[in-house]
Amino acid sequence: MFRCLASLLFTLVLAVAFAHPTAHAQNSQSAAAKSSDEKSATSKTDEAKSVDTSRGNVENGKKLFVSYGCYECHGRQGQGGGGAPRIGPPAIPVAAATRYVRNPTGQMPPYTAKVVSDQELSDIFAFLKTIPPPPRAASIPLLNQ
């Protein structure tokens, strides 16, 4: 009857949350934006070749978002939660996001080319793009109580 919840994600995300306002406050500078800044000089051309988001298949992306586990941390509408940031609709260019997912930071697990193809990532980001931006809090009475 004893189950250990000494969970990596749980404890480390707390630690991150304490140290980095970014982990808590989801509208500050994104992890992906930061990592893409660091690498932009070397990888810009590669990524331009490999990812063409205009051809993303939204329906397939929606399915993959669940089956590849993105929803577990980012929520079914990419709203974020428990330490993972909001990614729907994506606030960062799809090319940068794709490069980030391949070689991520923090508690985001890597999705290498061996397990997810560029096309599949295009599909996922195409789906995320279809998620409408949320309303302003001021327009929701339940958030003003």
């Binding site: 707390l14 586990g69 709203q79 428990g82 729907g88 309303p135 958030l143």
Partner: protein
Amino acid sequence: MKKQKNSVNRREFLKGAAGTVAAASTVAASLVTNPTPAAATPAMHANASAPTLAKVSPTEAVSIESITVDRPGSDFMVDCLKSLNFEYLCANPGNSFRSLHESLINYGGNKAPEFITCCHEESAVAMGHGYAKIEGKPLMVCVHGTVGLQHASMAIYDAFCDRVPVYVILGNFPDAAMRFGQVDWTHSAQDPAAMIRDFVKWDDQPVSLQHFAESSIRAYKIATTPPMMPVALVAGHELQEDPIADGANLSVPKLTMSSPPAGDSSAVDEAARMLVAAENPVLVTDRVARTPEGLARMIELAELLQAPVVDRNGRMNFPTRHALNHTERAGAAVGSADLVMGLELTDFWSAVHSVRGIRNPVVQSAVKPGTKFISVTSNDLYLKSNYQDFQRYQPVDLAIAADAQATLPSLIESVKQQMNDDRRRAFADRGAKHASAHQQTMQMQREAATAAWDASPISTARLSAELWAQIKNEDWSLVSNCQFVSRWPLRLWDFSKHYHYIGGEGGYGVGYGAPASVGAALANKKHGRLTVSIQNDGDLMFAPGVLWTAAHHRIPLLIIMHNNRAYHQELMQVQIMANEHNRGITRASIGSVLTDPAIDYAKLAQGMAVHSEGPISDPNDLGPAIKRAIEIVKNGEPALVDVLTQPR
């Protein structure tokens, strides 16, 4: 205590013969003349009353005096336990403490303590855990020293890590010569408390009633002196069941509660000097407020210094909407501090470090170079070695080994004395900045809550907002851990009273949530508070029988299921592993999800006569369902609303 001759008769009478005098005398006789047959015949099976009756000769008939007991030792145990003013006893019945059980309900009148029937020992202890955090004092739990304690042990560990007192009595059959069947033997241990000794503060196995008296009072005192922790006391079978010897000179010692350890005055003055001198002190709290007084003193200290508070929420330490509550911008607050004071902060290290990455985590200091640290914690006074809940060693500039709540009054006094007008002005200036940062942060929380607002399954932000709308005008008490719903209640609601929040498991042992909520609701009952829990589905499945306990004892509790149909924490962990191992990233759900079939929590609750609704997946249906459930709870009963939710 010396064995009384007649107790052999009594034991076998009850045990072997399902209540027949004849069987008792038969077994007793064989014990005296030839022990072998008695040992070979399992006492439990000796219930063929008619043939046995036939065998009894008139000379073997026993006197009524020898088979009844006017005043068993367990009555005196009740005298001792009553002197401790326990309101409740939570237990699953067990024969190793049957005499104590009977004494409590008959001799003790089933009042103070009143017996609360539990369906699992883990539930009994966790109820005590939740109860103590609301009521500020322990309740009593009885378990078999063997099988019952094995069930209870995880809950005892959680309470230990959470520094919460639970008073556990272990039944045992210490005298091997007085064990008369397989069950007695399997329910006996040389040293029952051995298996929990690493995570209780103290235990004892009294060998006489007077010994029991002294140890029962001592155990209470030890458990309730900070750092508070569970204690265990063995109640031996013979000690309970044998009659109190004629002329026994027994007395119940008086309980004198120890004052909690407060900080040494020179160390407290030095802490105050450092706080007053600092340009940007930050107070990080975890388990400070043991009582409402602790919360009030935390507010006083923070306001005096105009210092932001980062609350790690082990208790309700600081109001969420206070301008100095900077929990939701913890990184920024700690990152700009020149002094961090940790108050009953279990994990100081992680409050001042950042850990990034999974495979090769990069550890960095989260504070500016030169930032000073002060710690005030009673954890410095007590540590066990085996279980590693003491966390990473964090060097500090000043360590005060004392209970933080008890130290706050003298610290506040010293700060007042050392403040001058210049510092007062500086504090006021920084206070204005902190207030505006707090406002901005709160606004960010509200904006973040809008994402997936209309989603189905329902977002945890929406669930929290809907729930808040229904309870905010009540005298409410949220008794579940907020971590699993992305801390939304703490980010959105107005927590201001001591009983508004009680933190979490302590040891992150799953299975705590449901019973601790019922225990907290039991404590809140007499205060007429509306107790609310956001109940994780996986947690409830550990021991759902506690719903029956709530129904049976009319414990009012509003249970809102956070039903994400998974052991979601583990699902994420396995996902991380699959990704890291570069394979099978679609298979992480194997072993971690609770689907196929989906569990119908409303039906589960109905089966135990708990009002229920759901599963609710449309966010627009949620508010009305919660409203209906609250009506039931206000009538003094538990109610459950099953809500299909987003993962976190």
